[in-house]
């Protein structure tokens, strides 16, 4: 789960101006008419940390619910696509083919 600071792409100790600037940049990048869902997230994040008091409240009373899958995906993100050799590819490609065909027969 991303924090509002991550959503707006600002530092945790950003001030009002920096937060507003980041928000406007994000809105330009994801305008509501083209990316309604992304805009909602951006707007929600901005409303949470718009002022100094809000940012303090966020830090004091808010902890993003830990998202294990997100953490894992972040670290398991494949960086480079590594090409398999012909035998590995062929083995995996042909392995489930008969089962797939028989499954489709059972469905019919």
């Amino acid at each position: 789960m991303q924090t509002p600071f991550e959503i707006l792409d600002v530092a945790d100790d950003a001030n009002d101006d920096a937060v507003k600037k980041a928000y406007l940049n994000k809105v330009r990048e994801y305008p509501p008419e083209h990316s309604a869902e992304a805009f909602q997230r951006i707007r929600g994040a901005f409303e949470l940390i718009q002022t100094d008091k809000q940012r303090r409240k966020y830090r004091l009373f808010h902890l993003e619910k830990p998202d294990f899958q997100y953490l894992l995906r972040q670290s398991l993100r494949p960086s480079v696509f590594q090409r398999p050799d012909a035998n590995t590819l062929l083995g995996a490609l042909t392995e489930g083919v008969i089962d797939g065909l028989l499954k489709s027969q059972a469905i019919e």
Partner: protein, 804 residues
């Protein structure tokens, strides 16, 4: 079971037995009988019978999973009926037992137009199988597409694996679009593209049709090699070969595999501890900073992990310990414990040296405590907000909440004090001014309220509440002037009120003007027009009728004065929900004229009773209505409304409380024992409920009751009530109420009978009530003499021995 020896039976007998076995689905026996028959003579009908028995038996054994046997039986059948069509099922059995060559042979023989839709998927499957097993190619004629494009496809795959992209691309170009290898071509192109642009390559994979034999492989890649990381559940469901491929493509080694294994175990266990430990143990791989943030957040759900956390990431400050504990208690809904830990947080912050102390954080925590406490314990919320404003006075919302809470707790002095402080900080704030105006009005400080309303209109000229308040104030003055016989001054007040409503939207104003015109008897037409205008603005019906009757009474006119112009509501008139809600607002505004309000409502009581029965009012509608009726002292209507609400919402406590409140006319000591018991039951039902509004009211009512008893007995019942059976209490309380409510002459007679010689006539009322309670106790077998002695020994002027 082997059939009985056939050799001794006649052919006719055998034929009958074979037919009978077929009918009974005993195909094995039928096969034996037909074989015997055919040994004697090769009759075509017996050959057909045997072929049919083989066929049926083949399906029978296949159902049991004996595919090898099924294929043999079908082959026997096919030898006897060479023209028979090959069913899909037979091909399926062959595939299951790995007789691919036979399938390829069948495919080679069968023209495409004779194939079923399922069979049409076979060429692609066989083409893929042939890529792994070259021997299958022998089953196809060289011009068959599977054989024709096989070498090119293999060449493309080999070149791809050896990173000879030009050669691979050249080979792929030679595979035509109708080839059974066409999807392998798309697949290879997509994989080559993924190396430059993963998303584009994955997009190309999507193009492989859902009926293709390559679709399953494409979907596996789509889920596992995407940019955001693999789908864990599917990852662990992969076969060894696919797992090897995915690990190769994503560059995963043993470390990543172990991490995913731990993750899978933790995720499926649903245990915060396992997840927490998985992250701590793999923090190097997951990233130290991300792991720390994750674990810190996880401590809210799993506070026992704090030792492991500190071991891995370093010690946490005391403030953070309390903060996490507070958030943990909040997540469990234990708000008092959460508030306790927040308090510790404040203590920690306050201990910091002056230059490091952060008062704003302290104030914010106090406000947070107030939020947690405002429902169940408003007193704590008030205290926390007061402290927060001492630390940070620049918070309008806190003033507003604090003032509202003070009002809820009936502490108008504190409300006033905080309002003044709030207005000093935010002198032009509309919300604060509005609240101040309403509070002043409720405190009957009308001059102050009017001045606030004027300030409000200066800042916010379209503020309808301020405008309404001023109009009502002018109408109120006009009424007083009119009743005092100063019609001219009343008219002037009306004109001032009218200047605030130039668009003629205020029903009450038009009605009041109309009534004044009617009373003046100068311009009957104008009076009629104004009354009709007011009636129309009020929307007719219940609200308009109430406004008209109320205004008539306020001006001291006879209630039937305007009846000629505006007839009364019909006898069967029933008001809708919206009308009832509107009426409640009007009652609230008319609270200052209690007597006239009561009279106006008394006239409408039959309509209201009917309407309460039929209108679909929510629990909140009822509650708001109850509060207004209770506040304005309209006990008769409140009682009607509460009784009806109990039928609609029998499980809620509000209607019970307000019915009893109405019966007692708001005085707790008038409550009967039975009602006290009912109220206790209602209070018990409220326990655990989120909405504590009624709970607070009941608690206050009981407190008032206790205090009223204290007044009489100085700290409760002074005598030894050890022998009192708790079950008797409701009956005693009921009797006490009866005595309290009865005419004084009757009460004197009863007391004189019970305690002869008491000088009752000079006794103050409260002293008399004390004696009445004693008499009630005496009626239930208690020793009044002993009690009287005890009361006599109490140091209270009300109950001096002389007076008794």
């Amino acid at each position: 079971m082997k059939p009985k020896s056939a050799s001794i039976s006649s052919a006719d007998d055998l034929e009958i037995r074979a037919g009978s076995a077929m009918e009974r689905h005993q195909y094995r026996e039928a096969i034996a009988f037909y074989k015997d028959l055919l040994k004697r003579e090769r009759r075509p009908e017996w050959e057909r019978g045997l072929a049919d028995a083989y066929r049926q038996r083949a399906f029978q054994v296949a159902e049991k999973g004996m595919y090898q046997e099924a294929t043999i039986l079908w082959d026997n059948h096919a030898k006897l009926s060479p023209q028979a069509e090959c069913p899909d099922a037979y091909v399926g059995w062959l595939l299951r037992v790995g007789q691919y060559a036979k399938v390829a042979e069948l495919l080679g023989k069968q023209p495409e137009e004779a194939q079923t839709p399922w069979m049409r998927q076979l060429p692609e499957v066989m083409a893929l199988m042939a890529l792994e097993n070259d021997k299958l190619l022998g089953c196809f004629l060289p011009e068959h597409p599977i054989a024709k494009h096989h070498a090119t496809t293999k060449k493309a795959i080999a070149a791809y694996g050896a990173k000879r992209d030009d050669e691979a691309e050249e080979a792929l170009r030679q595979i035509p679009s109708r080839s059974p290898y066409r999807n392998v071509r798309t697949l290879l192109k997509a994989m080559m593209l993924m190396e430059q642009d993963r998303a584009a390559g994955l997009g190309m994979l999507e193009k492989i049709g859902t009926d293709s034999a390559c679709r399953g492989f494409a979907e596996m890649l789509l889920g596992q090699v995407r940019q955001e990381g693999p789908e864990l559940d599917a990852y662990f469901g992969l076969s060894a070969k696919c797992l090897g491929l995915v690990n190769k493509i994503n560059g995963y080694g043993k470390t990543q595999f172990n991490l995913m294994r731990d993750a899978k175990k933790a995720a499926t266990s649903n245990s915060p501890r396992l997840v927490f430990e998985a992250v701590i143990n793999n923090r190097e791989l997951l990233g130290n900073s991300a792991s720390r943030r994750f674990c810190l957040a996880a401590l809210v759900e799993y506070p026992s992990g704090i030792t492991a956390f500190e071991h891995a990431f370093g010690k946490l400050p005391a403030f953070e310990h309390h903060r996490l504990q507070a958030l943990h208690e909040e997540s469990l809904g234990y708000y008092p414990d959460a508030a306790h830990h927040w308090g510790k947080c404040i203590e920690t912050l306050a201990k910091r040296p002056a230059q490091e102390r952060d008062k704003l954080d302290e104030a914010l925590i106090f406000r947070h405590i107030a939020e947690l406490a405002s429902g169940p314990v408003p007193e704590i919320a008030v205290d926390a907000l007061r402290k927060s404003l001492d630390l940070d006075p620049d918070d309008k919302e806190s003033y507003l909440t604090l003032i509202k809470l003070c009002e809820t707790l009936d502490d108008s002095k504190a409300a006033q004090e905080w309002m003044e402080k709030g207005l000093k900080c935010f002198p032009k704030d509309v919300d604060l001014l509005l609240l101040a105006m309403n509070v002043a009005s409720r405190r009957k400080a009308f001059k102050k309220a009017a001045s606030l309303a004027k300030s409000l209109l200066d800042i916010d000229p379209i503020n309808s509440q301020a405008r309404q308040f001023l109009i009502d104030a002018h109408i109120g003055h006009a009424r007083k002037q009119f009743r005092a016989g100063r019609a001219n001054l009343a008219q002037q007040e009306m004109e001032q009120a009218r200047s605030l409503d130039p668009h003629r939207r205020n029903a009450g104003l038009s009605l009041a003007e109309g009534l004044l015109a009617l009373a003046g008897d100068k311009d009957a037409k104008r009076a009629e027009d104004l009354l009709k205008e007011g009636w129309h603005i009020a929307g007719g019906g219940l609200c308009a009728r109430f406004l008209l009757d109320f205004e008539t009474l306020c001006l001291g006119l006879p209630l039937n004065a305007p009846t000629r112009i505006i007839p009364a509501l019909g006898k069967s008139y029933v008001a809708k929900r919206e009308e009832l809600l509107g009426l409640i607002k009007l009652i609230d505004r008319a609270a200052d004229e209690k007597k006239r309000l009561t009279d106006a409502l008394e006239k409408l009581r039959p309509v209201l009773k009917r309407s309460f029965k039929q209108a679909e009012l929510t629990e909140d509608d009822y509650f708001n209505g109850f509060q207004t009726l209770a506040r304005t002292g309209q006990y008769a209507v409140l009682g009607d409304c509460a009784k009806e609400a109990q039928l609609h919402y029998p499980l809620t406590a509000g209607p019970v409380y307000f019915e009893i409140f109405a019966k007692c006319k708001g005085v707790a000591k008038r409550m009967s024992g039975q009602d006290e018991y009912r109220l206790e039951l209602a209070e018990q039902r409220l326990r655990g409920s989120k909405d504590q509004r009624v709970g607070i009211l009941i608690e206050n009512f009981f407190r008032e009751l206790d205090e009223s008893l204290d007044n009489g007995f100085k700290g409760g019942m002074p005598f030894d009530l050890d022998g009192l059976n708790p079950n008797m209490l409701p009956a005693i309380m009921k009797r006490v109420t009866e005595l309290e409510m009865m005419p004084r002459s009757e009460l004197f007679a009863i007391i004189a009978d019970a305690i002869p010689g008491l000088p009752l006539k000079n006794l103050p009322d409260e002293g008399l009530m004390d004696i009445a309670r004693l008499v009630a106790m005496g009626e239930f077998g208690f020793d009044i003499g002993g009690m009287l002695d005890m009361i006599a020994s109490l140091d209270t002027p009300k109950k001096s021995p002389k007076s008794r």
